[in-house]
């Protein structure tokens, strides 16, 4: 199993560090063909329209997934993957968070499966089908203990309902509501990462790492993705420090 960062070439740094990789996985077709359907991912949970549901790596690996998926998820919650991330983003991490005490050999574990400075997550995610148009999330930043966030998009071929990622630039002093949701009018659109098969986006999380998901039109299809997260053991940045 190859790292999803294998084809990383150029890090964008404006307005925050991120990388977009098209055709990220050479063996994407096999993963797509064996991905579980939405009921299996819901795993008995009730859901409403356009709701985000995830299966954590820890839970997923305990459910006897297809071997190709087990290998994929296991690698991307490993120390080896953290080193891949460090080799691509290490300078960007340090320039965004100068005081964050992490390095290439910082101890890691799979999230919910141990104690280490860094927890890695690779969860099988989806936004549920929706009867009305709407966005899952407006401009926001991720959790205050998250170092890196990432998404691999896996839409069904017939899915044209939307759900792209938008990169935003903070334009004012940040004010948040709820789950690090930026109040309206405090960011401007910069770029779109299309919800396209085998497209991977990863970014350094921080007070300027504002991103959003575009509206999704009514559809019977779920928005399919794999969500990557790399967390520090505690909150390490001030969201008002942008």
């Amino acid at each position: 199993m190859h790292s999803i960062l294998r084809h990383a070439v150029k890090i964008e740094t404006d307005p925050f560090p991120y990388v977009v990789i098209e055709n990220a996985l050479d063996d994407y077709a096999e993963l797509a063909a064996t991905r579980w359907d939405k009921d299996r991912i819901a795993n008995g949970r009730n859901y409403v329209d356009n709701q985000r549901l995830d299966l954590s790596a820890h839970k997923f690996l305990g459910m006897s997934p297809p071997p190709v998926w087990a290998e994929f998820v296991s690698y991307h919650v490993s120390q080896a993957f953290w080193r891949d991330v460090w080799d691509v983003f290490g300078v960007a991490i340090k320039s965004t968070h100068p005081g964050l005490a992490v390095g290439r050999n910082t101890s890691t574990c799979m999230r919910f499966a141990g104690a280490a400075k860094i927890g890695l997550e690779c969860q099988i995610g989806m936004n549920t089908p929706t009867k009305t148009a709407g966005s899952v999330r407006g401009p926001h930043i991720d959790s205050l203990n998250e170092i890196m966030g990432g998404m691999l998009y896996m839409p069904l071929p017939e899915d044209n309902a939307g759900g792209d990622l938008e990169i935003h630039r903070l334009t004012g002093k940040p004010k948040f509501a709820g789950k690090m949701q930026l109040l309206p009018g405090l960011s401007e659109y910069v770029a779109t990462v299309p919800y396209r098969a085998n497209t991977f986006v990863m970014f350094v999380n921080g007070p300027r790492s504002v991103h959003a998901v575009t509206r999704r039109q009514p559809t019977h299809l779920e928005r399919r993705l794999v969500s990557f997260g790399i967390d520090f053991e505690a909150a390490f940045f001030d969201p008002m420090g942008a």
Binding site: K10, I11, T13, D14, P17, W86, D87, V88, G90, V91, A92, K94, S95, P98, G99, G103, R104, N105
Partner: protein, 215 residues
Amino acid sequence: MTFTPCMAQAVLYTKKLAPAIASVIEFGNQRYTAWSVAPADSTVDFYHRAGIVQYLALDVNTRMSAIVADLNSPVDLPPVDLVTNNGTGEHIFDQASVFRNAHDLCAVGGFMIHCLPMTPWVNHGFYNYNPILFRDIAAANGYKVHWLSLCSRFEMGWNISSEAWPFVEKRPTELIDAMRSINGEIMICVIWQKLLDGRFRTPIQGKYLKDVEGA
């Protein structure tokens, strides 16, 4: 440290050699003074305007976009396209560690710029440098030498990397003439390209290579 016109010229020269350079690690935070070469609000701004968008400086404090790092020890960062040592290495006790860090932090195919004091620079730092050091480090590590000059803080000087006279030991007439042609304190500016993967190799001074038993 001061980001001088000489240093700005060296960076722009290197960027011309390799336009794809996008990331830099600087030894020492850098106060920008190179307005005669390129307008910029800061050294970070200078690099951004030059298209080098990933910037990190290593210093003993976090001023001017630096992170705290001790160059006497290995620095745990991934390699970048360009590593600069502009007036910093002379303040670090462990010289092998300075050049080893530059080597390790530079990607294969990437570049290193060392711009360091030669003379008089009395008590400026722990050390002053001779041209021979840069010839022999480059030889030991297979670096391509794109530039070597005696320079002032205002001018990069002229490229003498293909000359033999900068390394003459006894009666170095041409070297002394070149030093006399520079107003003020003299520095050495070198631009290397790292061509080979592998660990940093400590040089033996070239003139003694034939004396090494078992070599």
